[in-house]
Symmetry: C2
Subunit: 197 residues, 2 copies
C-alpha cells in the first residue's frame, strides 16, 4: 500500500504492538523515517542492545542485563521482605510507587484452569525454595485483584502457611478517587477495612 | 524506573513516537522483550533495512529504496496526470483509495508565513520544472483543506496558470457521513457543488 515492501512490513509489525493500530503505526513509521538520525537509528541501536542483553533474572524473574537483575544484586534492598507480583509490568508499577524497599519475585502469570497453567508453569516452586533458603520474614502478595490473581494468592498462601508472615496489599478507595465512579466491590472493601481517624 | 538503563531508554524513545505515551510504550516494550524471536528481532532487522535503504525519490519526493521510487519507475502509471500532495502520508492515503493511476509530486509541507516556509523550502520549483519538461496534461492539487494547504494550492495555481489543466479534489459529504455531525463549512461546500440526480 505504501512505497516499499520494507516500509509496509515495518508498519504491519508496528501495528501489531499493543496500543498501536494501522493508523498510528503509519504515523510512527513516517516520523521515524523523517527523523532518521534522531529517532530511527538510535531506536534501532537500542532494540539491538536490548535484544542481545536483556534476560530474566535467575532468582526473581525480573528483566536485567545479567544473570542477577539490578534489584537482586542491589545490597541496599531489604532481604527480609519479598513482594510477589504477576509480571514485570507490575514490578515496574511497584517501583514507580517507590514505597517498597525489599526484593521481588515475579511469577510470570497466574494460575488458570482454563489456560491449563499450573504452579509448575509459574515461578511458584522457586518462590517456595526462596522462602526456605533465604532469610525472608514477610511475603507480600501484590497480585492483581482479579479472580485468577486471587486464586493464585490463595494457593501461595496455602503453600507457605506457617513458614513466613503473609500479607497482601490493602484494598480501598484510590488516592484522588471519587466514590461516585467506584465499583460496588471496591466501596464495600473500603467500608469493611475502614479505619479510626 | 525499570530494570536496566537500556530498557528505560527504549521506553522513553518509544514514548516520544506519535500516538504512543509512557504507558503504551512500556506495554509495547514488554511485549517485544517477551516475544524476542517473533517481534523484537524481526523489528530490529526491519528498522535496520529501512534506515539503510529508504530515501526520497529524486523526482517526486516519495519514499523508496532507490533513487526513483516504485511509482515513478512503474511504466504502467499514467504520465499525463500529476497529483500534488503535501506529504508522503497523503500519498499513501491516495494510494489506499486506489482510484488514481497517475504519478505524484510530494511537496514536503505547505507554505507558511509563520514558520517562514517559502516555495524554495518545498518541492515547488521541481514541480514547475516537471510540468515544463514532462508530458503532463493535468495537475491535481490534492492538498489538505486547511488555510495553509489552500494558500499553497493558490500559489501553485498562480505559477502554473495557462500551462496545464489544474484541478482540485471535490469537497462534500464523506461517504457514510451523517449531516448532523458535519461542520457548517462542509455542508455549504456540498450544497454549492450539488449535482442533478
Amino acid at each position: 500500500m505504501s512505497s516499499t515492501r520494507d516500509i509496509d512490513d515495518l508498519i504491519e509489525m508496528m501495528a501489531r504492538l499493543p496500543g498501536l493500530g494501522p493508523r498510528s503505526a503509519r504515523r510512527a513509521v513516517l516520523h521515524m523515517i523523517r527523523k532518521k538520525a534522531l529517532v530511527l537509528n538510535p531506536l534501532t541501536a537500542l532494540l539491538q542492545r536490548v535484544g542481545a542483553n536483556v534476560r530474566e533474572c535467575v532468582t526473581c524473574g525480573n528483566l536485567g542485563s545479567a544473570d542477577l537483575c539490578d534489584l537482586c544484586a542491589n545490597e541496599k534492598r531489604a532481604i527480609g521482605e519479598l513482594c510477589v507480583v504477576e509480571d514485570v509490568a507490575d514490578l515496574w508499577a511497584m517501583e514507580r510507587g517507590g514505597a517498597f524497599r525489599g526484593r521481588y519475585h515475579v511469577l510470570g502469570g497466574t494460575l488458570s484452569a482454563l489456560a491449563a497453567i499450573g504452579p509448575d508453569e509459574l515461578r511458584i516452586p522457586k518462590l517456595i525454595q526462596r522462602v526456605a533458603e533465604e532469610n525472608i520474614s514477610e511475603v507480600i502478595l501484590a497480585l492483581n485483584a482479579t479472580v485468577d490473581g486471587q486464586t493464585t494468592a490463595h494457593y501461595i498462601a496455602d503453600q507457605l502457611d506457617g513458614q513466613v508472615r503473609l500479607t497482601s496489599l490493602a484494598q480501598g478507595v484510590p488516592i484522588g478517587g471519587e466514590l461516585d465512579y467506584l465499583d460496588d466491590g471496591t466501596i464495600s472493601a473500603a467500608l469493611k477495612a475502614r479505619k479510626t481517624i
